[in-house]
Symmetry: D2
Subunit: 351 residues, 4 copies
């Protein structure tokens, strides 16, 4: 059921991040500047650490596009890790370059370090950190930016906003909340909302569990590093049936609703209202003020490894969430309208 | 990446519900009584309507098992709809039996009726209701019960409990809360928790977004009808980094934690702690006290169609959630330990 | 990329064969008689053994269809094994019915017995035979018959014919060739051709290896029990480039070809010419005149087990091949024309 | 069921070819020289044209490997198109670089040009040629070379050989056969064989059609550009059952066969004998001595476009076939032995 399918790759300090997207029809214009804008948005939230200044991500298209338009063949996106020049030896693919520089063995609680090292049988936890790092979401944002451009052709747009940072639900105090945490070497999570508008009715389906759009979106969001809670629409906790469901009315012969508790999804399908997704991100687990942990080589209690990090990345997380949802929706749109080239798809869409 | 894959089918008042599970290794004993027990649990929660008395679901195994053990071939499960005898003509597959009896055209807000009828071009909303009904979760529970039996061979067990019903978070008042809602013709949702214990470290992975176990579980849970919120572990909202992450200590040379905020998942993998999933179910959208809606044939405002329903199905939802998570985990276990027959798998497991 | 996806199940002497097809849009009329006709064709070829008289397969639709039309929900097909009444105890799913009656331990060369018993750790080879039997192709024919009906809506039709039986390439001598083999307790294979007409241009694709239509068809055909050779179009062995390729001409402004060596596929896509697939089936490996083999329990040389069998099943194999190709093509057609219901799909098709 | 999954991308004259392989366990040593050797083999067959001198393919590993060993994260392979410097403007991804230089509109019979331009709505046939070109098989060879290295850890090896070129089945005359064709501006196909040795018993399965190893291999081979015929083992045409099947004997308590007509596959599974695959490649459809065709813009009869090409590429095709089969087998091996890191897998293997 994947018409828009993709694989991503790349380590945090390796040569770069790559994605191959297979299934984009021919004849779509891809605007590389729009991709780069989302990459900037991902990097520019308040609370990000020093690396954001080094990288300034830019995407390169390696295949699948000619003279600005897709060919129907797989589209390859590449984001160079500009920091790689400082890591060439440490992250070398060659056996002869082996070095223990920058290796570490102190598990960072909340990260993949412990379970990852058990699973993949690694003692140098850098071998886990490098891929489990949220760095990889940069290329997911790039893929999602392509998906968004596809959605735009169908007049579908999106935005996101931060609802809460740490304990603070008042937007004007977000910066000071982050400053305070930074001062104490601590980190903050938060809650955000993503909204997609103008979706056609009937994306997703109830007919089989793995076609339900809410389930697919939940997977996409919960698989973003640090997300622990996903909500579709209004959290129904405490509502009665008579209060929660979005009643239907006629307005000049058109069916309308006065509420959107369902968040745009009924029966696992878009219902024509705005699609509203909320998620809670946990505080970043890399702390200057280190947590108690264990050294996996010495098998002694110690303090966790600290690698350059951010205080708060909720804004970035929201940008990633937009991207991830856009991929799910682009797949549904391409399945719905069929067609192998843009002209054909638009004809089917405009009927 | 699906080693344990399955398709389900069946309408609410059709002949029955079927599932084919492909990928169970040979030599597993399947205990049909254990499947039936979960089917009973699904039906027996307080607040269920009259149909639960009619059905008394029992599963039949149609293939893939001989003398109590799996053959390695696809396992077919079938649950007869005992009510079908009253619906034979209404739900007939034959064109010549066409009847408008029990057809309806008044959208039920909160259900698949509206979006489903648009998507599948149906005016008789029964053609939507029949598959979008939560009835189909019975066969998902049966599939999950098989998955649980696989997990049991690896000493993995699970339970679930209700945390909140409507506005009430006190277990001893759940029944009266439901009685009250029923009296008013209203319905209630609620929150529940599912816990799996004794999972091996390293199920799932961070290496690619669609391998993250939290994402896969979130999809499984959010695709259960009426679920709107999924949480993995403790909701991090308001926690600082220094408070949330589960620090690691040594206890007689063994790594231990004193908290489990992560709910057993770090970096998209099991970390050896209990897997803790919470979800919020919306109140059932079929209300005796009907909601405002629109008739899709007359295109007039009206009151929603009422079809025999429950007041509260949170307990059933928790049983379905156990089943759905069990399927995700069984797949991971089978991938991890390889092997084509039980003896081989257990050898790999015990090393 | 699977919009038309399905799982099948069932043992040769179990209760029956089941298939669940997920992904058929709503509003398709399914003619059950057409399915049964293909089931009869599969059973009626010259050279089939006694079982064909027992079974007289008929399909039952258990879900996904109401009043003759698909609902969009999964379609379940079931074919009862009429012989099951004689096998109830031998093929029981219950542990307490264990019996060694009809068990066997003499590997049949050419069958799955040897590798299957190693893989699934079975000593009673019936546990392998029951699923590896070609009996399971009956339900594949039923699924394919549904796919053919979908294709018919797009004016696509198919037929197959036998090219060679044993050493005989002259149709009028096929029966006597089979009679001769039967007399000697031997079996025959043969070669057949399947042709699909009126396919739209551009099904399949060259953009990624797993989208190539020739590859998908080759998998479908080679996975039919006993098929060892698959050819798309004319076998090119011995042709020069200047001879083989189908040159293009204009005829009243329309592009035409005078040859179809390519068998209707260029670049992994349909090119508007007839799709021509040939396959060679090996002789049935269950022989009255038994082969040398080994007994897996006694570990002694012996003669192979004989279970009621056919002399020649090439006609049946061709019917299965039609079905299997039809499934591949229906998937491509549904992807190409998009849409969730028949009316929408036909609108897209007719533009 | 794909544990070893990958996507490839890249145009013939674009920047390069990329593959992302997801699913390789951690701790495998990848030898880049071995990959490059297969790339050289692909380029060095007798009968290749001038481009082979330009490219001298070398692979670069962009991710997933550190200090010579896999990390468990996706492995990215990249092969630069060294010719790209001459094509930068013609193959530019940027709209402003649009040029008609090297565009063409004369369909080449036997290629994807005609069906591809219809499907993807292109008038410049270069937009089809660039991806449909067999150039893309270079990266498939690289992926397969990684798969082969995985297989080598399990002592599985492979080789291929050419059986026939054009009409010539005598190896010592292959070169002169090719020279003759070249002289006339013609092209030749041929037949080759690939053999894998030391496979464990029971890869693949009969339990569901899409698990059959012969079907999966047939897809892999038939999806190689220009392959029209796939054979598993000995073509059974003309054999009787009593002649074809590989009888089983005991030799010092070990089961042995004296023949391998089955080509190592019974019941869709490896049976412990050598896996033998044959395929026929059609003559290359790009001919110096051009074929009759149609110009898709002028809609006039004309002669086909000629782009630098080879006379015979059967040797290359055999190398690609090795690679493609190796991918199928590596997937099966990884599923069979489970495990997430090499040490664990080898433990399971050595039991």
């Amino acid at each position: 059921m994947e018409k828009f399918r993709f694989l991503t790759s790349g380590e945090s300090h390796g040569k770069g991040l790559t994605a191959i997207i297979e299934g984009i029809p021919a004849g779509f214009e891809i605007d590389i500047n729009e991709i780069n804008k989302d990459l900037q948005r991902r990097q520019s939230g308040y609370g990000r650490g020093g690396r954001m200044q080094i990288e300034k991500d830019n995407v390169e298209i390696l295949s699948g596009v000619r003279f600005g338009k897709t060919l129907g063949s797989p589209v390859t996106l590449f984001i160079e890790n500009k920091d790689f020049k400082n890591w060439e030896k440490i992250m070398s693919t060659k056996m002869e370059d082996f070095t223990e520089e920058k290796s570490f063995s102190k598990y960072r609680p909340g990260h993949a370090d412990f379970a990852g090292s058990e699973k993949y049988n690694q003692k140098d936890l850098r071998n886990i950190l490098e891929r489990s790092s949220a760095r990889k979401t940069a290329i997911e944002v790039a893929v999602g930016a392509v998906a968004k451009q596809i959605l735009n052709k169908f007049s579908i747009s999106c935005y996101s906003e931060i609802i809460q940072i740490g304990n603070c639900a008042d937007k004007k105090d977000f910066h000071s909340e982050i400053d305070k945490a930074k001062e104490f070497g601590d980190t903050l999570g938060g809650k955000f909302e993503v909204v997609f508008s103008n979706l056609p009715i009937g994306l997703g389906s109830f007919v089989h569990w793995d076609r339900k759009l809410d389930g697919r979106i939940a997977q996409a969001i919960m698989s973003i590093p640090a997300v622990k809670v996903v909500e579709i629409g209004e959290n129904p906790l405490g509502y009665k049936g008579s209060e929660y469901h979005d009643q239907m009315f006629l307005d000049n012969g058109k069916i309308v609703r006065k509420t959107n508790h369902a968040g745009g999804i009924e029966g696992g399908m878009t219902n024509g209202e705005n699609l509203v997704i909320k998620a809670v991100m946990k505080p970043i687990p890399t702390l200057k003020k280190p947590l108690n942990t264990v050294d996996c080589i010495k098998m002694q209690e110690t303090e966790a490894h600290f690698e350059r990090s951010d205080t708060c990345a909720v804004e970035a997380c929201a940008v990633v969430a937009e991207a991830r949802i856009a991929c799910v929706l682009a797949n549904e749109i391409l399945l719905k309208f069929g067609g192998d080239n843009f002209e054909e798809i638009i004809r089917n869409y405009q009927k």
